[in-house]
Symmetry: C2
Subunit: 204 residues, 2 copies
DNA sequence: TAGTATACTGACTGTGTAGTCATTCGATGG
DNA sequence: CCATCGAATGACTACACAGTCAGTATACTA
Protein backbone atom coordinates (compact mmCIF):
# COMPACT_ATOMS: atom_id res chain seq x y z
CA UNK A 1 0.00 0.00 0.00
CA UNK A 2 2.71 2.46 0.93
CA UNK A 3 4.59 3.62 -2.13
CA UNK A 4 7.81 4.37 -0.22
CA UNK A 5 10.84 2.52 -1.50
CA UNK A 6 9.03 1.11 -4.50
CA UNK A 7 10.32 1.39 -8.01
CA UNK A 8 8.23 3.02 -10.68
CA UNK A 9 7.63 -0.41 -12.11
CA UNK A 10 6.36 -1.82 -8.81
CA UNK A 11 4.00 1.06 -8.26
CA UNK A 12 2.49 0.71 -11.69
CA UNK A 13 2.30 -3.03 -11.35
CA UNK A 14 0.45 -2.86 -8.06
CA UNK A 15 -1.90 -0.26 -9.41
CA UNK A 16 -2.73 -2.25 -12.54
CA UNK A 17 -3.14 -5.47 -10.56
CA UNK A 18 -5.60 -3.80 -8.20
CA UNK A 19 -7.41 -2.20 -11.13
CA UNK A 20 -7.78 -5.53 -12.91
CA UNK A 21 -8.91 -7.34 -9.77
CA UNK A 22 -11.54 -4.72 -9.16
CA UNK A 23 -12.89 -5.09 -12.67
CA UNK A 24 -12.69 -8.86 -12.44
CA UNK A 25 -14.70 -8.88 -9.25
CA UNK A 26 -17.49 -6.93 -10.92
CA UNK A 27 -17.59 -9.18 -13.96
CA UNK A 28 -17.24 -12.50 -12.12
CA UNK A 29 -19.88 -11.42 -9.63
CA UNK A 30 -22.33 -10.71 -12.40
CA UNK A 31 -21.70 -13.70 -14.65
CA UNK A 32 -19.83 -16.34 -12.72
CA UNK A 33 -16.51 -17.83 -13.78
CA UNK A 34 -17.54 -19.74 -16.90
CA UNK A 35 -19.76 -17.10 -18.43
CA UNK A 36 -17.36 -14.25 -17.85
CA UNK A 37 -14.81 -13.50 -20.56
CA UNK A 38 -11.37 -11.98 -20.25
CA UNK A 39 -12.40 -9.42 -22.85
CA UNK A 40 -15.17 -8.24 -20.57
CA UNK A 41 -12.78 -7.90 -17.68
CA UNK A 42 -10.40 -5.96 -19.90
CA UNK A 43 -13.16 -3.64 -21.01
CA UNK A 44 -14.37 -3.11 -17.45
CA UNK A 45 -10.80 -2.26 -16.46
CA UNK A 46 -10.41 0.07 -19.44
CA UNK A 47 -7.48 -1.98 -20.77
CA UNK A 48 -6.79 -4.19 -23.75
CA UNK A 49 -6.86 -7.93 -23.25
CA UNK A 50 -3.13 -8.24 -23.88
CA UNK A 51 -2.47 -5.94 -20.95
CA UNK A 52 -4.37 -8.23 -18.63
CA UNK A 53 -1.97 -11.02 -19.54
CA UNK A 54 0.99 -8.86 -18.60
CA UNK A 55 -0.22 -9.03 -14.99
CA UNK A 56 -1.94 -12.40 -14.75
CA UNK A 57 -1.00 -15.68 -16.46
CA UNK A 58 -4.54 -16.95 -16.96
CA UNK A 59 -8.22 -16.34 -16.41
CA UNK A 60 -8.23 -18.87 -13.62
CA UNK A 61 -5.48 -17.02 -11.78
CA UNK A 62 -7.40 -13.77 -11.96
CA UNK A 63 -10.38 -15.52 -10.48
CA UNK A 64 -8.38 -17.14 -7.71
CA UNK A 65 -6.68 -13.86 -6.85
CA UNK A 66 -10.04 -12.10 -6.59
CA UNK A 67 -11.45 -14.92 -4.49
CA UNK A 68 -8.52 -15.55 -2.14
CA UNK A 69 -8.13 -11.91 -1.41
CA UNK A 70 -11.64 -11.57 -0.09
CA UNK A 71 -11.76 -14.93 1.61
CA UNK A 72 -8.64 -14.23 3.62
CA UNK A 73 -9.97 -10.82 4.59
CA UNK A 74 -13.30 -12.21 5.76
CA UNK A 75 -11.73 -15.13 7.61
CA UNK A 76 -9.31 -12.83 9.34
CA UNK A 77 -11.98 -10.32 10.34
CA UNK A 78 -14.15 -13.13 11.67
CA UNK A 79 -11.32 -14.72 13.61
CA UNK A 80 -10.25 -11.40 15.09
CA UNK A 81 -13.70 -10.33 16.18
CA UNK A 82 -14.44 -13.70 17.69
CA UNK A 83 -11.18 -13.68 19.57
CA UNK A 84 -11.86 -10.20 20.92
CA UNK A 85 -15.33 -11.19 22.12
CA UNK A 86 -15.63 -12.68 25.57
CA UNK A 87 -17.38 -15.97 26.18
CA UNK A 88 -19.11 -18.29 23.76
CA UNK A 89 -22.12 -16.04 23.54
CA UNK A 90 -20.01 -13.11 22.44
CA UNK A 91 -18.07 -15.23 20.00
CA UNK A 92 -21.16 -16.58 18.28
CA UNK A 93 -22.56 -13.09 18.10
CA UNK A 94 -19.30 -11.83 16.60
CA UNK A 95 -19.32 -14.62 14.04
CA UNK A 96 -22.81 -13.77 12.83
CA UNK A 97 -22.36 -10.02 13.00
CA UNK A 98 -19.00 -9.90 11.24
CA UNK A 99 -20.19 -11.98 8.35
CA UNK A 100 -23.53 -10.31 7.85
CA UNK A 101 -22.01 -6.84 8.00
CA UNK A 102 -19.27 -7.86 5.60
CA UNK A 103 -21.84 -8.69 2.92
CA UNK A 104 -23.12 -5.16 2.78
CA UNK A 105 -19.71 -3.71 2.09
CA UNK A 106 -18.55 -6.39 -0.35
CA UNK A 107 -21.51 -7.45 -2.45
CA UNK A 108 -19.50 -8.34 -5.54
CA UNK A 109 -17.05 -10.43 -3.60
CA UNK A 110 -19.86 -12.25 -1.85
CA UNK A 111 -21.47 -13.25 -5.10
CA UNK A 112 -18.22 -14.89 -6.16
CA UNK A 113 -17.74 -16.40 -2.72
CA UNK A 114 -21.25 -17.76 -2.63
CA UNK A 115 -20.98 -19.21 -6.12
CA UNK A 116 -17.84 -21.06 -5.12
CA UNK A 117 -19.76 -23.05 -2.52
CA UNK A 118 -21.76 -24.51 -5.36
CA UNK A 119 -18.57 -26.06 -6.73
CA UNK A 120 -17.60 -27.72 -3.47
CA UNK A 121 -18.82 -31.11 -4.61
CA UNK A 122 -16.96 -31.01 -7.94
CA UNK A 123 -13.54 -32.44 -7.08
CA UNK A 124 -11.71 -31.06 -10.12
CA UNK A 125 -13.15 -27.59 -9.84
CA UNK A 126 -11.44 -24.24 -10.16
CA UNK A 127 -10.43 -24.11 -6.56
CA UNK A 128 -9.46 -27.16 -4.58
CA UNK A 129 -8.10 -25.15 -1.71
CA UNK A 130 -11.47 -23.52 -1.15
CA UNK A 131 -12.79 -26.75 0.29
CA UNK A 132 -9.91 -26.93 2.75
CA UNK A 133 -10.55 -23.38 3.84
CA UNK A 134 -14.20 -24.10 4.38
CA UNK A 135 -13.28 -27.18 6.36
CA UNK A 136 -10.86 -25.20 8.48
CA UNK A 137 -13.49 -22.63 9.35
CA UNK A 138 -15.94 -25.34 10.33
CA UNK A 139 -13.29 -27.04 12.42
CA UNK A 140 -12.43 -23.80 14.18
CA UNK A 141 -16.09 -23.18 14.94
CA UNK A 142 -16.47 -26.74 16.12
CA UNK A 143 -13.48 -26.44 18.45
CA UNK A 144 -14.91 -23.32 20.06
CA UNK A 145 -18.27 -24.99 20.56
CA UNK A 146 -16.61 -28.12 21.91
CA UNK A 147 -14.72 -26.13 24.49
CA UNK A 148 -17.84 -24.25 25.51
CA UNK A 149 -19.72 -27.51 25.89
CA UNK A 150 -17.00 -28.95 28.08
CA UNK A 151 -17.00 -25.81 30.18
CA UNK A 152 -20.76 -26.07 30.61
CA UNK A 153 -21.36 -22.78 28.83
CA UNK A 154 -23.67 -24.51 26.39
CA UNK A 155 -25.47 -27.81 26.51
CA UNK A 156 -23.87 -30.95 25.13
CA UNK A 157 -24.55 -31.36 21.42
CA UNK A 158 -22.91 -33.03 18.44
CA UNK A 159 -20.77 -29.97 17.79
CA UNK A 160 -19.79 -30.85 14.23
CA UNK A 161 -23.36 -30.76 13.00
CA UNK A 162 -24.11 -27.63 15.02
CA UNK A 163 -21.06 -25.88 13.58
CA UNK A 164 -22.29 -26.66 10.06
CA UNK A 165 -25.77 -25.49 10.94
CA UNK A 166 -24.50 -22.25 12.43
CA UNK A 167 -22.19 -21.56 9.53
CA UNK A 168 -24.82 -22.27 6.91
CA UNK A 169 -27.73 -20.52 8.53
CA UNK A 170 -25.57 -17.42 8.63
CA UNK A 171 -24.68 -17.90 4.99
CA UNK A 172 -28.38 -18.34 4.31
CA UNK A 173 -29.15 -14.90 5.67
CA UNK A 174 -26.22 -13.50 3.75
CA UNK A 175 -27.72 -14.94 0.58
CA UNK A 176 -31.12 -13.60 1.51
CA UNK A 177 -29.67 -10.12 1.75
CA UNK A 178 -27.74 -10.54 -1.50
CA UNK A 179 -30.93 -11.45 -3.30
CA UNK A 180 -32.66 -8.42 -1.86
CA UNK A 181 -35.17 -10.55 -0.01
CA UNK A 182 -34.61 -9.01 3.41
CA UNK A 183 -36.86 -6.17 4.37
CA UNK A 184 -34.82 -5.89 7.53
CA UNK A 185 -31.63 -4.19 8.64
CA UNK A 186 -28.41 -6.06 9.24
CA UNK A 187 -28.73 -5.41 12.96
CA UNK A 188 -32.17 -6.98 13.03
CA UNK A 189 -30.96 -10.04 11.16
CA UNK A 190 -28.02 -10.38 13.51
CA UNK A 191 -30.26 -10.21 16.53
CA UNK A 192 -32.84 -12.61 15.08
CA UNK A 193 -30.19 -15.15 14.23
CA UNK A 194 -28.30 -14.71 17.45
CA UNK A 195 -31.36 -15.21 19.57
CA UNK A 196 -32.36 -18.22 17.51
CA UNK A 197 -28.93 -19.79 17.82
CA UNK A 198 -28.56 -19.01 21.46
CA UNK A 199 -31.87 -20.40 22.55
CA UNK A 200 -30.94 -23.41 20.47
CA UNK A 201 -27.64 -24.18 22.07
CA UNK A 202 -28.13 -22.55 25.45
CA UNK A 203 -28.31 -24.78 28.53
CA UNK A 204 -30.79 -22.62 30.33
CA UNK B 1 -44.48 -45.55 -16.45
CA UNK B 2 -47.07 -48.13 -17.48
CA UNK B 3 -46.51 -49.31 -21.02
CA UNK B 4 -50.17 -49.97 -21.71
CA UNK B 5 -51.56 -48.09 -24.69
CA UNK B 6 -48.19 -46.76 -25.74
CA UNK B 7 -46.85 -47.09 -29.23
CA UNK B 8 -43.53 -48.77 -29.82
CA UNK B 9 -42.11 -45.37 -30.55
CA UNK B 10 -43.29 -43.91 -27.28
CA UNK B 11 -41.87 -46.76 -25.27
CA UNK B 12 -38.48 -46.46 -26.88
CA UNK B 13 -38.53 -42.72 -26.55
CA UNK B 14 -39.29 -42.86 -22.85
CA UNK B 15 -36.61 -45.46 -22.30
CA UNK B 16 -33.93 -43.49 -24.13
CA UNK B 17 -34.91 -40.27 -22.42
CA UNK B 18 -34.60 -41.90 -19.02
CA UNK B 19 -31.32 -43.50 -20.02
CA UNK B 20 -29.88 -40.18 -21.15
CA UNK B 21 -31.09 -38.36 -18.06
CA UNK B 22 -29.50 -40.95 -15.84
CA UNK B 23 -26.18 -40.58 -17.61
CA UNK B 24 -26.51 -36.80 -17.58
CA UNK B 25 -27.10 -36.77 -13.85
CA UNK B 26 -23.89 -38.70 -13.27
CA UNK B 27 -21.82 -36.45 -15.49
CA UNK B 28 -23.32 -33.14 -14.35
CA UNK B 29 -22.97 -34.20 -10.71
CA UNK B 30 -19.30 -34.88 -11.17
CA UNK B 31 -18.31 -31.88 -13.27
CA UNK B 32 -21.00 -29.26 -13.09
CA UNK B 33 -22.79 -27.79 -16.07
CA UNK B 34 -19.98 -25.86 -17.74
CA UNK B 35 -17.28 -28.50 -17.40
CA UNK B 36 -19.46 -31.36 -18.57
CA UNK B 37 -19.58 -32.09 -22.31
CA UNK B 38 -22.35 -33.64 -24.33
CA UNK B 39 -19.85 -36.20 -25.62
CA UNK B 40 -19.27 -37.37 -22.07
CA UNK B 41 -22.97 -37.74 -21.47
CA UNK B 42 -23.28 -39.69 -24.70
CA UNK B 43 -20.47 -41.98 -23.72
CA UNK B 44 -21.90 -42.54 -20.24
CA UNK B 45 -25.23 -43.41 -21.84
CA UNK B 46 -23.56 -45.72 -24.34
CA UNK B 47 -24.93 -43.70 -27.27
CA UNK B 48 -23.51 -41.48 -29.99
CA UNK B 49 -23.80 -37.75 -29.58
CA UNK B 50 -26.20 -37.47 -32.48
CA UNK B 51 -28.62 -39.75 -30.69
CA UNK B 52 -28.70 -37.46 -27.69
CA UNK B 53 -29.93 -34.70 -29.96
CA UNK B 54 -32.78 -36.87 -31.18
CA UNK B 55 -34.23 -36.70 -27.69
CA UNK B 56 -33.10 -33.31 -26.39
CA UNK B 57 -32.71 -30.06 -28.32
CA UNK B 58 -29.70 -28.76 -26.36
CA UNK B 59 -27.29 -29.35 -23.52
CA UNK B 60 -29.14 -26.81 -21.44
CA UNK B 61 -32.40 -28.69 -21.86
CA UNK B 62 -30.82 -31.93 -20.72
CA UNK B 63 -29.57 -30.15 -17.65
CA UNK B 64 -32.90 -28.53 -16.90
CA UNK B 65 -34.72 -31.81 -17.35
CA UNK B 66 -32.36 -33.57 -14.93
CA UNK B 67 -32.71 -30.73 -12.46
CA UNK B 68 -36.46 -30.10 -12.62
CA UNK B 69 -37.26 -33.75 -12.30
CA UNK B 70 -35.49 -34.06 -8.99
CA UNK B 71 -36.50 -30.67 -7.66
CA UNK B 72 -40.17 -31.37 -8.22
CA UNK B 73 -39.85 -34.76 -6.57
CA UNK B 74 -38.11 -33.34 -3.51
CA UNK B 75 -40.49 -30.41 -3.18
CA UNK B 76 -43.48 -32.70 -3.48
CA UNK B 77 -42.14 -35.19 -0.94
CA UNK B 78 -41.39 -32.36 1.47
CA UNK B 79 -44.79 -30.77 1.04
CA UNK B 80 -46.58 -34.07 1.46
CA UNK B 81 -44.71 -35.12 4.58
CA UNK B 82 -45.14 -31.73 6.18
CA UNK B 83 -48.84 -31.75 5.43
CA UNK B 84 -49.24 -35.21 6.92
CA UNK B 85 -47.43 -34.21 10.09
CA UNK B 86 -49.48 -32.68 12.87
CA UNK B 87 -48.55 -29.38 14.47
CA UNK B 88 -45.66 -27.07 13.78
CA UNK B 89 -43.26 -29.32 15.62
CA UNK B 90 -44.11 -32.27 13.42
CA UNK B 91 -43.95 -30.16 10.29
CA UNK B 92 -40.50 -28.82 11.04
CA UNK B 93 -39.32 -32.32 11.85
CA UNK B 94 -40.79 -33.61 8.59
CA UNK B 95 -39.06 -30.83 6.65
CA UNK B 96 -35.65 -31.68 8.07
CA UNK B 97 -36.11 -35.43 7.92
CA UNK B 98 -37.48 -35.59 4.39
CA UNK B 99 -34.66 -33.53 2.99
CA UNK B 100 -31.82 -35.18 4.83
CA UNK B 101 -33.07 -38.65 3.96
CA UNK B 102 -33.53 -37.67 0.35
CA UNK B 103 -29.83 -36.84 0.02
CA UNK B 104 -28.78 -40.38 0.80
CA UNK B 105 -30.87 -41.85 -1.97
CA UNK B 106 -30.15 -39.18 -4.60
CA UNK B 107 -26.53 -38.14 -4.23
CA UNK B 108 -25.99 -37.27 -7.88
CA UNK B 109 -29.11 -35.18 -8.05
CA UNK B 110 -28.15 -33.34 -4.91
CA UNK B 111 -24.79 -32.35 -6.27
CA UNK B 112 -26.53 -30.74 -9.23
CA UNK B 113 -29.16 -29.20 -6.99
CA UNK B 114 -26.59 -27.82 -4.61
CA UNK B 115 -24.47 -26.40 -7.42
CA UNK B 116 -27.50 -24.55 -8.75
CA UNK B 117 -27.77 -22.54 -5.53
CA UNK B 118 -24.38 -21.11 -6.37
CA UNK B 119 -25.87 -19.57 -9.51
CA UNK B 120 -28.73 -17.88 -7.71
CA UNK B 121 -27.06 -14.49 -7.77
CA UNK B 122 -26.25 -14.61 -11.50
CA UNK B 123 -29.37 -13.16 -13.13
CA UNK B 124 -28.75 -14.59 -16.59
CA UNK B 125 -27.89 -18.04 -15.37
CA UNK B 126 -28.95 -21.39 -16.74
CA UNK B 127 -32.09 -21.51 -14.73
CA UNK B 128 -34.13 -18.46 -13.90
CA UNK B 129 -37.06 -20.47 -12.64
CA UNK B 130 -34.89 -22.09 -9.99
CA UNK B 131 -34.86 -18.85 -8.05
CA UNK B 132 -38.62 -18.66 -8.13
CA UNK B 133 -38.89 -22.19 -6.86
CA UNK B 134 -36.49 -21.45 -4.04
CA UNK B 135 -38.48 -18.36 -3.18
CA UNK B 136 -41.71 -20.33 -3.17
CA UNK B 137 -40.31 -22.89 -0.78
CA UNK B 138 -39.11 -20.17 1.56
CA UNK B 139 -42.49 -18.45 1.35
CA UNK B 140 -44.30 -21.69 2.14
CA UNK B 141 -42.06 -22.28 5.13
CA UNK B 142 -42.55 -18.71 6.23
CA UNK B 143 -46.33 -19.01 5.99
CA UNK B 144 -46.32 -22.10 8.18
CA UNK B 145 -44.14 -20.41 10.76
CA UNK B 146 -46.26 -17.28 10.65
CA UNK B 147 -49.40 -19.25 11.35
CA UNK B 148 -47.74 -21.12 14.19
CA UNK B 149 -46.57 -17.84 15.69
CA UNK B 150 -50.08 -16.39 15.51
CA UNK B 151 -51.47 -19.52 17.11
CA UNK B 152 -48.94 -19.23 19.92
CA UNK B 153 -47.31 -22.54 19.04
CA UNK B 154 -43.97 -20.81 18.71
CA UNK B 155 -42.68 -17.51 19.96
CA UNK B 156 -42.94 -14.39 17.84
CA UNK B 157 -39.98 -14.03 15.51
CA UNK B 158 -39.21 -12.39 12.17
CA UNK B 159 -40.42 -15.45 10.30
CA UNK B 160 -38.79 -14.60 6.98
CA UNK B 161 -35.30 -14.70 8.41
CA UNK B 162 -36.08 -17.80 10.46
CA UNK B 163 -37.42 -19.58 7.37
CA UNK B 164 -34.17 -18.83 5.53
CA UNK B 165 -32.14 -19.97 8.50
CA UNK B 166 -34.08 -23.20 8.81
CA UNK B 167 -33.90 -23.93 5.12
CA UNK B 168 -30.20 -23.23 4.87
CA UNK B 169 -29.09 -24.96 8.04
CA UNK B 170 -30.79 -28.06 6.71
CA UNK B 171 -29.06 -27.63 3.38
CA UNK B 172 -25.83 -27.17 5.31
CA UNK B 173 -26.16 -30.60 6.88
CA UNK B 174 -27.10 -32.04 3.50
CA UNK B 175 -23.87 -30.62 2.10
CA UNK B 176 -21.93 -31.93 5.06
CA UNK B 177 -23.19 -35.41 4.33
CA UNK B 178 -22.53 -35.00 0.61
CA UNK B 179 -18.91 -34.13 1.34
CA UNK B 180 -18.57 -37.15 3.59
CA UNK B 181 -17.90 -34.98 6.63
CA UNK B 182 -20.59 -36.50 8.83
CA UNK B 183 -19.54 -39.31 11.07
CA UNK B 184 -23.15 -39.57 12.11
CA UNK B 185 -26.30 -41.27 10.84
CA UNK B 186 -29.10 -39.41 9.14
CA UNK B 187 -31.32 -40.02 12.15
CA UNK B 188 -28.78 -38.45 14.47
CA UNK B 189 -28.44 -35.40 12.23
CA UNK B 190 -32.21 -35.05 12.04
CA UNK B 191 -32.51 -35.18 15.80
CA UNK B 192 -29.62 -32.79 16.40
CA UNK B 193 -31.03 -30.26 13.98
CA UNK B 194 -34.59 -30.69 15.14
CA UNK B 195 -33.69 -30.15 18.76
CA UNK B 196 -31.57 -27.15 17.85
CA UNK B 197 -34.34 -25.61 15.81
CA UNK B 198 -37.03 -26.34 18.29
CA UNK B 199 -35.28 -24.93 21.29
CA UNK B 200 -34.58 -21.96 19.08
CA UNK B 201 -38.11 -21.16 18.12
CA UNK B 202 -40.01 -22.76 20.98
CA UNK B 203 -41.86 -20.50 23.39
CA UNK B 204 -41.19 -22.65 26.41
C1' DT C 1 -36.08 -61.86 -49.91
C1' DA C 2 -36.58 -57.36 -51.29
C1' DG C 3 -38.24 -52.98 -50.01
C1' DT C 4 -39.25 -49.48 -46.78
C1' DA C 5 -39.12 -47.06 -42.57
C1' DT C 6 -36.94 -45.58 -38.62
C1' DA C 7 -33.34 -45.42 -35.11
C1' DC C 8 -28.71 -44.43 -34.84
C1' DT C 9 -24.04 -42.81 -35.99
C1' DG C 10 -19.83 -39.94 -35.84
C1' DA C 11 -17.20 -37.04 -38.88
C1' DC C 12 -17.84 -32.42 -39.79
C1' DT C 13 -18.92 -27.27 -39.28
C1' DG C 14 -19.39 -23.02 -36.93
C1' DT C 15 -18.63 -20.29 -33.09
C1' DG C 16 -16.82 -18.36 -29.03
C1' DT C 17 -13.00 -17.34 -26.50
C1' DA C 18 -8.36 -18.11 -24.01
C1' DG C 19 -4.02 -16.89 -24.79
C1' DT C 20 -0.04 -14.77 -28.11
C1' DC C 21 2.99 -11.58 -30.18
C1' DA C 22 4.46 -8.30 -33.82
C1' DT C 23 3.56 -3.65 -33.76
C1' DT C 24 2.54 0.98 -31.81
C1' DC C 25 2.56 4.40 -28.27
C1' DG C 26 4.53 7.58 -25.21
C1' DA C 27 7.64 8.82 -21.63
C1' DT C 28 12.40 10.02 -20.61
C1' DG C 29 16.76 11.95 -21.38
C1' DG C 30 20.67 13.24 -24.12
C1' DC D 1 14.45 16.82 -31.94
C1' DC D 2 15.75 12.30 -32.07
C1' DA D 3 16.84 7.69 -29.86
C1' DT D 4 15.76 4.27 -26.65
C1' DC D 5 12.91 1.33 -24.02
C1' DG D 6 9.19 -0.50 -21.41
C1' DA D 7 4.16 -0.53 -21.37
C1' DA D 8 0.09 -1.28 -23.95
C1' DT D 9 -2.44 -2.87 -27.87
C1' DG D 10 -5.66 -5.75 -30.61
C1' DA D 11 -5.63 -8.62 -34.64
C1' DC D 12 -4.63 -13.21 -34.82
C1' DT D 13 -4.15 -18.36 -33.74
C1' DA D 14 -5.39 -22.57 -31.68
C1' DC D 15 -8.64 -25.23 -29.67
C1' DA D 16 -12.64 -27.04 -27.42
C1' DC D 17 -17.06 -28.14 -27.96
C1' DA D 18 -22.24 -27.56 -29.15
C1' DG D 19 -24.97 -28.79 -32.59
C1' DT D 20 -25.79 -30.95 -37.67
C1' DC D 21 -26.71 -34.15 -41.23
C1' DA D 22 -25.50 -37.35 -44.93
C1' DG D 23 -24.88 -41.93 -44.51
C1' DT D 24 -25.48 -46.73 -42.20
C1' DA D 25 -27.61 -50.33 -39.57
C1' DT D 26 -31.55 -52.55 -37.94
C1' DA D 27 -36.25 -53.79 -37.63
C1' DC D 28 -40.46 -54.43 -39.83
C1' DT D 29 -43.63 -55.74 -43.67
C1' DA D 30 -45.40 -57.87 -47.70
Amino acid sequence: MAFAGKTKHEILSEFRTAEILQAARTVFAEKGFSEATVDEIAEAAGLAKGTIYLYFPSKKEIYLAALKNGVAELAEATRKNMEAAGGIRGKVHAFIQTRLEHVERNRDFFKIYHAEFGNLTHPLSVNESFRKLYRQQLDALEAILEKAAEGGEIRKTPVGAIASALYEMTRGLMLRRLLGWSGTTVEEDVETLNEFVWRGIGNS
